[in-house]
């Protein structure tokens, strides 16, 4: 069973990467240069407050011991307490993660048609004005920073056509319709950024597939065009696009940081920025490690998907 070994190997590699990432994060934040406590307190530091904070963060223990207890706690789901609010980090994280997962799910829902439809139009109208036009549009969108795209959408749908709220603030008691209104703009921004990458790749893949012999065969057999395209060409063009989707998931984790901040959406990304601004070291470490873990998991799934979808490997 070579495929089983391949899968196990890939999983182990991901775990090793996660371990290394945790060491890197810990090293960047706690070991590198100078003292965490004086960095947190900044100009307000007095010898007493410094000593008290050092005690509270266990900074007097050796770095290795601190790392082990931090990572060990994390493995048991115990992230410790946040510095600024003294609440357990898991309690702070839970609603934020829920919001961001919801946002990402809506964004992915918008992303799929946004990627598929233009790519299908371009591939079937290859080198015609529609194709060139869409290429220019995707290139411009590709070059547009996400914070600018978010701001442009805001100008369009909040200021010029005031239909949506400027600030996507939701609380636990928000109704479904409040949630929906809050999610439209951030989700659309994320979806457009992700779709632009996918459209360009999917167009090229589709064109390549459409030129292959089995598509010609299907056409000669007299199958309707729509059926050839959707049944025969699209599934084969989608496989290489799987990679882009994994990359997009990676983008999404960074993208939510910006987009949530722009729209004031209380999710995981804005929590990360807030914790950095407040210099809440335990909260920073927890959010960054989770972000990296999600990214590693997404890549692992994409690789496993590619292994399982590859008939040559599946047969072996």
């Amino acid at each position: 069973m070579s495929i089983l070994r391949l899968v196990i190997g890939r999983v182990l590699l991901s775990l090793l990467t996660l371990l290394l990432v945790s060491i890197i994060i810990f090293a960047i934040i706690e070991v590198l240069p100078g003292d965490v406590a004086s960095r947190i307190l900044g100009r307000d530091a007095t010898p007493e407050t410094l000593a008290a904070l050092r005690e509270r963060l266990h900074l007097n223990d050796p770095a290795i011991q601190r790392y082990l207890s931090w990572f060990g706690g994390m493995l048991q789901g115990d992230f410790g307490n946040a510095l600024t609010s003294a609440r357990p980090i898991t309690e702070i994280l839970a609603p934020r993660i829920f919001n961001t997962v919801l946002l990402s799910a809506v964004a992915f829902g918008i992303y799929l048609p946004l990627a598929l439809i233009p790519a299908l139009i371009q591939a079937t109208h290859r080198e015609r004005p529609v194709d060139h036009g869409l290429s220019v549009v995707t290139l411009i969108l590709l070059s547009m920073p996400d914070f600018l795209l978010a701001t442009v959408l805001m100008i369009l749908f909040v200021i010029m056509i005031p239909v949506l709220p400027a600030i996507s603030l939701v609380v636990e008691t928000s109704t479904v319709s409040q949630y929906a209104r809050a999610l439209v703009l951030p989700a659309t921004t994320l979806a457009i950024v992700m779709a632009v990458y996918a459209v360009r790749m999917l167009r090229d893949n589709l064109i390549e597939v459409l030129e292959s012999e089995y598509i010609r065969m299907a056409e000669l057999k007299g199958l309707p065009r729509r059926k050839v395209l959707l049944r025969h060409a699209l599934p084969n063009a989608l496989v290489p696009t799987l990679n882009v989707t994994a990359l997009n998931l990676g983008y999404l984790i960074g993208g939510v940081v910006i987009v949530e901040k722009v729209f004031g959406f209380p999710g995981f990304g804005s929590l990360l920025v807030d914790s950095l601004q407040l210099r809440d070291v335990p909260l920073i470490e927890a959010t960054v490690l989770i972000a990296a873990a999600v990214y590693i998991a997404a890549n692992l799934l994409a690789d496993l998907g590619a292994i399982l979808l590859n008939p040559r490997l599946r047969a072996g």
Partner: protein, 298 residues
């Protein structure tokens, strides 16, 4: 398609050669090059002809909107946005290019060593590169800035180092792949049999042959660097006010977006046009060198 390394025609001057290259270059290369030249021109000469000073106040009615005197409007403090955008051009371009270049140098050295030397050094370097890439790049940039502390915050050198930190592992991965590929060729074996040391092989055989990959990689990353720097500025972790960095300007003027959207769109679209130019140029460059570009960032 190949437009490089054409044989010199007899009796052809250098200018004629450049003109011939230009005629044969793909459209994306030509449009990108023109856009980039305009940006470089503005960056180099802007501070001498910008209508107003970098943080000169009282140039017009605050938030008055677009006019001939103030094409990008006037901000809350009465500063002319167009002048600030022009003054900021060299900052954005210098930070992007130097950060990406530092990342390229580090990435190329690490990648070539990893790919050529192999063995346990390669294993360790690869795992380390993989781990660094696994931290979403914006998150990595943010924690590095937070870790640098208040003394370095807002300093250009910090931005350059952060851009390099984000790009070096990504470039190293490409350089390693190129090195592994080149190392199997005959001329490398010959060089080794000739008794050249590892360092000399890397410098004389690997580096010249990987230069195409590295050039495209540099252009690709440099094209994204203004966005990364802008994002950091936008979030308040990049350059500090009153530096006219475009991302920072967008975030400064966003609070009054509803009154004067042009103060945000001016710097925003200027940033986008720079990135469009860089992307087109990279696409054209890759076509000339006969490579495909991956537009997505891994």
């Amino acid at each position: 398609m190949m437009a490089v390394a054409q044989p010199t025609m007899p009796g052809e001057s250098r200018w004629e050669r450049v003109a011939r290259f230009w005629r044969r270059a793909p459209n994306s290369f030509r449009i990108g090059a023109v856009v980039l030249l305009i940006h470089l021109f503005v960056a180099a000469t802007g501070p001498f002809w910008a209508p107003y000073g970098l943080s000169q106040m009282g140039t017009g009615i605050p938030l008055a909107g677009m006019s001939w005197a103030h094409p990008f409007g006037v901000d809350q403090l009465g500063r002319d946005i167009f002048s600030r955008v022009v003054h900021g051009a060299h900052i954005v371009i210098l930070l992007s290019l130097s950060g990406t270049f530092l990342g390229l140098v580090i990435g190329a050295v690490v990648g070539l060593i990893s790919g050529y030397v192999g063995g346990w050094i390669d294993e360790i370097l690869q795992r380390l590169i993989e781990a660094l890439i696994s931290i979403p790049f914006l998150v990595l940039a943010l924690i590095a800035i937070a870790a640098a502390g208040p003394q370095l915050a807002g300093q250009p050198i910090l931005i350059i180092l952060v851009v390099a930190l984000v790009y070096a592992p990504r470039i190293a991965r490409m350089a390693r792949a190129a090195a592994v590929d080149i190392a199997t060729r005959d001329f490398v074996t010959v060089a080794r049999l000739r008794g050249e040391g590892a360092w000399s092989v890397m410098r004389r055989e690997l580096l010249p042959n990987a230069s195409g990959v590295l050039l495209v990689e540099f252009a690709l990353r440099a094209g994204y660097a203004p966005v990364l720097i802008g994002s950091l500025g936008f979030l308040g972790f990049g350059m500090r006010p009153p530096t006219p960095e475009w991302g920072l300007m967008i975030s400064e003027n966003r609070a009054l977006l509803i009154v004067s959207p042009v103060t945000v769109l001016g710097p925003g679209l200027t940033l986008a046009s720079l990135v469009v130019g860089l992307n087109l140029f990279t696409d054209g460059l890759a076509r000339i060198l006969g490579r495909t570009v991956r537009l997505a960032d891994a």
